[in-house]
């Protein structure tokens, strides 16, 4: 019997198990609250996938858990999101503030805010969260800006989306 090398293929075939608890989709809501000059972002990402990504990217010892979590976990999440979530408003790059995160079932819910936005004419979003470890990942962004609702889908092949409100 020839011995075979067992390896991890990049095109990992997703053997969905009977329980199939795996998601490959993240959902982010972006809402422009004009009265507060603020762009409010709520991003929901699968906990297991984010944890694996952070471990691979930064530190193998990172643990995302609702009990006894190290405070550094938030710092890593913030760092990762700043690398993977880029927004330009009216052609200028803007920085968001990481307000915090919560756990909901199998997901991490991250709250981000961009303040001092007096008006939005155009917005450009780049959302590459989890693509580095999960090429099949799809990121959905539901935006509510200037009373218009848009559904944007980001994939490894399509990482930039642009909306014009003029």
């Amino acid at each position: 019997m020839k011995s075979v090398k067992v390896i991890l293929l990049l095109i990992i075939f997703p053997f969905f198990l009977s329980v199939a608890h795996k998601y490959y989709v993240s959902v982010t809501q972006i809402e422009y609250v004009k009265e507060k000059n603020s762009l409010q972002i709520i991003a929901r990402i699968d906990v297991d996938d984010l944890e694996l990504t952070l471990q691979e990217r930064f530190d193998k010892s990172i643990n995302l858990t609702s009990t006894d979590e190290k405070p550094s976990a938030d710092d890593y999440i913030k760092k990762y999101l700043k690398q993977k979530f880029e927004i330009k408003i009216n052609t200028k790059e803007v920085n968001f503030k990481f307000i915090g995160k919560d756990y909901e079932n199998d997901q991490v819910v991250c709250y981000l805010e961009i303040k001092n936005i007096t008006s939005i004419n155009t917005i450009e979003i780049s959302n590459t969260v989890l693509f580095d470890l999960f090429p099949k990942q799809k990121n959905i962004v539901k935006s509510k800006i200037n009373s218009k609702i848009n559904n944007l889908i980001f994939t490894k092949e399509d990482i930039n989306q642009y909306l014009n409100f003029k």
Binding site: I7, F16, V19, A20, V27, Y111, K138
Partner: protein
């Protein structure tokens, strides 16, 4: 107390549409698109195989496939070799000239087409290790090596392999009632399921030992039936299995220091159990509250260190099962507990290596027992003699009488809520699968949701039971088991999402997006809503039990389920199946506006217009007038007094038609509301309305879904009330999976957004 019903009749003007016919361009014709249209077009015509009531018909048939197998696992090479005799019985009215045999391990051959259908892209830059693993490694070759396919006389049978399906040519056509036996000799390389994925395989531990969870390991018969002919749709890896029932006689040879359990009765227990194990086993059969350990952790730790060169053969025999799975390892701790179901005792069993403790010794067997009780109550008493839960990393998969489940604490034995509840939920789910599809044997290859959706719904019921029966299993702060799937509000994000990424439930599993939501979450939620809100538990439970009992040990299709639920309840469900299962519509029902009216003695504009247009006098008409609170005609003094005080016409009518005693006992409504409901979402659902009165009390009314049958967008309801209503809420308990509740209240609620709630919480810390 008698309400003035006639008052409502005489104010019929609210529903009168005295609007002149507008000039509209003529629309083109249409077919019946009404949401309440019966499903005649979608369903097959009932026939002798499957009746209009959703039951097996007089000509219903199913095939049988019996197996006699000798297997051996070489622990050093992780290769399984086998020899089987398959006996196939043709109960169909058709002549068969060939048989189809399933070769599921072929999804893992070196150049399997299954690998070809996943999309990929060249990455411009990546780490060296990823580059090497993508482009430079030998890929795993795990397919079946078929050494021979022979008749009982030993003659070679002509056969053709198409990926995961093998066609065996019959030397003579099989007629109705014929039995045909043939032999297959094969071997395959068992896969490392942790590294390569898969629903079976082994996990390699740092100490060099393996935990084998073995299934799909043998060439097995495909289903032949009245709906599909041969169900020989390829196994691409996602949709699961369609399998006929039969009897299995399996002999498995493994190293002598291994423990093993699988589908069926262990026929040679005395050969493979030590005396201690036999004694503990006898104790376990009488232990109904706590599991008894058959093989302890210290004993397992001793075995782990050895590598016996001797072998043992375990003999298992199973009747009327659709598949066979077994687990074996020298690392196992084994415990069992007895469960009373009806007039029989069933054994709940767990097999786990020490890495699963302390979680597994505490909860696995209890979760198995609890699940059997819940499911038996809702369907039928579990007909097999045991149910096993095997600890396996990253697994969650079901086979008759045995399943693999994840849930492992860290090296220090610590686990968080996510791990604990994850483990309990997966055990409940996989053990539940014994009922759907192992016994109610639907075609998983075509309809993933028929077993996964029904099972996930039942899982929710069983989880809630488990939380009640074992409150010690819950964490502090959890009043009930925190089920992830089942409650209506948990599915709204999926249903209200991007339509490009949603497929109807009635779609072959291979082709759906968001597989978990599509085949598990949404159908489970749909059934839960049907049970708790639309039909009610009494009607639902009776019909669900009827379905399970009609189709136990048989092969149902979706229509058989849909028809039976209606047949047994007299509850029209076509609109529900059509909306929830055949379309991707979502629920959004709200209050568009509410107008409040009071009785007045002054003729209103409506009455004046009517009198003028129809040349009548107001004195002759002698109507009771209702005036809207926001209109110019309203006068604040109308808020005082009763309705009859404010309308002489009404007062006189009452005095002329009712005795003083009757008038004394009458209750007069004072407040009148015209509610306009809107339905931006496509799904028709009942309208659940909660009225909150000025005195703080509440009342809930439900208008059945049929209210939408004439107008799919807007309906109005007029109500009269003795007490003043201060607020009206649609679906106050979030039972209908309404994706947007911002339009559900009158007066309109200004709710703090989720974002602000979280922000304020963080600030407060």
């Amino acid at each position: 107390m008698r309400l003035l019903k006639f008052l409502c009749l005489s104010i019929a003007f609210i529903s009168l549409n005295a609007v002149a016919q507008e000039q509209e361009p003529q629309k083109s014709g249409h077919t019946n698109q009404n949401k309440f249209k019966q499903l005649y077009d979608e369903f097959s015509t009932p026939n002798m195989f499957r009746t209009g009531s959703g039951a097996p018909g007089p000509a219903y048939y199913q095939q049988q496939a019996d197996y006699k197998m000798d297997l051996e696992i070489n622990d050093e090479t992780a290769v399984l070799t086998g020899y089987e005799t398959i006996t196939y019985t043709n109960n169909s009215p058709d002549d068969l000239t060939y048989l189809w045999v399933q070769l599921d391990q072929n999804v893992r051959t070196k150049d399997a087409p299954a690998k070809g259908i996943t999309t990929s892209r060249v990455t411009p830059a990546q780490s060296a290790s990823r580059f090497a693993s993508t482009y430079m490694s030998e890929s795993f070759d795990g397919g079946f090596n078929i050494e021979s396919v022979t008749s009982t006389e030993g003659k070679a049978l002509s056969h053709t392999i198409n990926q995961t399906m093998m066609r065996v040519e019959l030397p003579m056509a099989m007629k109705t009632g014929d039995k045909f036996s043939f032999n297959i000799k094969w071997w395959y390389q068992i896969n490392d399921h942790v590294k390569n994925g898969g629903r079976s395989g082994y996990e390699l531990f740092p100490d060099g030992n393996r935990n084998y969870v073995i299934a799909q390991f043998y060439p097995r018969m495909a289903v032949y039936n009245d709906v599909e002919g041969w169900q020989n749709s390829q196994f691409w890896g996602r949709d699961e299995f369609a399998l006929p029932f039969g009897n299995f006689e399996v002999n498995i040879t493994v190293p002598a220091d291994h423990l093993l359990d699988g589908t069926g009765k262990l026929m040679n227990r005395k050969d493979v159990f030590s005396k201690d194990m036999m004694n503990r086993y006898e104790k376990a059969k009488k232990s109904f509250d706590e599991p008894v350990v058959i093989s302890t952790q210290p004993e397992a730790e001793v075995r782990e260190k050895g590598r016996s060169k001797k072998k043992n053969t375990w003999k298992l025999y199973a009747e009327n099962v659709r598949d066979f799975g077994f687990a074996t390892s020298r690392k196992y701790i084994w415990d069992m507990m007895a469960v009373k179901l009806g007039d029989r005792d069933v054994m709940a069993v767990s097999l786990y290596s020490k890495e699963g403790n302390p979680l597994w010794e505490q909860w696995s067997t209890k979760a198995v027992a609890s699940t059997l009780k819940s499911y038996s109550r809702m369907t039928f008493d579990y007909p097999y003699h045991k149910a096993i839960s095997v600890h396996a990393r990253r697994q969650g998969m079901e086979y008759p009488m045995i399943c693999w489940n994840y849930g492992r604490p860290d090296e220090n034995g610590k686990y968080d809520d996510r791990t604990k509840y994850g483990m309990m939920s997966v055990i409940i789910h996989e053990v539940g699968h014994n009922f759907f599809p192992m016994i109610v044997n639907s075609d998983e290859r075509q309809w993933t949701w028929m077993d996964e959706g029904l099972n996930t719904f039942m899982q929710y019921v069983a989880e809630q039971d488990f939380g009640e029966w074992y409150p010690g299993a819950l964490s502090t702060g959890d009043a009930a088991y925190p089920s992830r799937r089942g409650p209506a509000k948990n599915i709204t994000r999926y249903m209200g999402g991007n339509q490009d990424r949603i497929a109807p439930i009635m779609t072959k599993g291979l082709n759906t997006y968001q597989f978990g939501n599509n085949a598990y979450g949404k159908p489970a939620t749909a059934l839960n809503i049907l049970r708790e809100t639309v039909m009610g538990r009494e009607l639902f439970d009776y019909s669900f039990k009827e379905y399970a009992n009609r189709w136990m040990f048989k092969h149902p299709t979706p229509e058989d389920f849909f028809r039976t639920m209606e047949d047994a309840s007299a509850f029209d469900l076509d609109w529900y199946w059509r909306g929830w299962f055949y379309s991707t519509d979502w629920v959004d029902i709200g209050l568009k506006e509410v107008k409040k009216y009071y009785v007045s003695s002054e003729p209103n504009q409506y009455a004046k217009n009517y009198a003028a247009t129809n040349n009548r006098s107001l004195e002759d008409l002698n109507w009771v007038y209702l005036v809207e609170e926001d209109s110019d005609e309203f006068d604040n003094k109308l808020r005082q007094g009763t309705s009859s005080d404010n309308s002489p016409t009404l007062k006189e009518y009452m005095m002329d038609n009712f005795t003083p005693e009757e008038r004394n006992n009458m209750e007069q409504p004072k407040y009148f509301y015209n509610m306009t409901f809107e339905k931006p979402g496509g799904l028709v659902m009942p309208i659940i309305v909660e009225f909150t009165y000025a005195d703080g009390t509440t009342k809930t009314e439900t208008y059945p879904a049929q209210i939408w049958r004439f107008n799919d967008n807007e309906v109005t309801k007029a109500i009269a009330s003795i007490k003043e209503i201060v607020s009206i809420t649609v679906d106050p308990k979030l039972e209908t999976a309404d994706i947007d509740t911002s339009n559900n209240s009158w007066p309109k609620e200004v709710k703090e957004s989720d974002f602000d709630t979280f922000k304020n919480k963080v600030k407060g810390k």
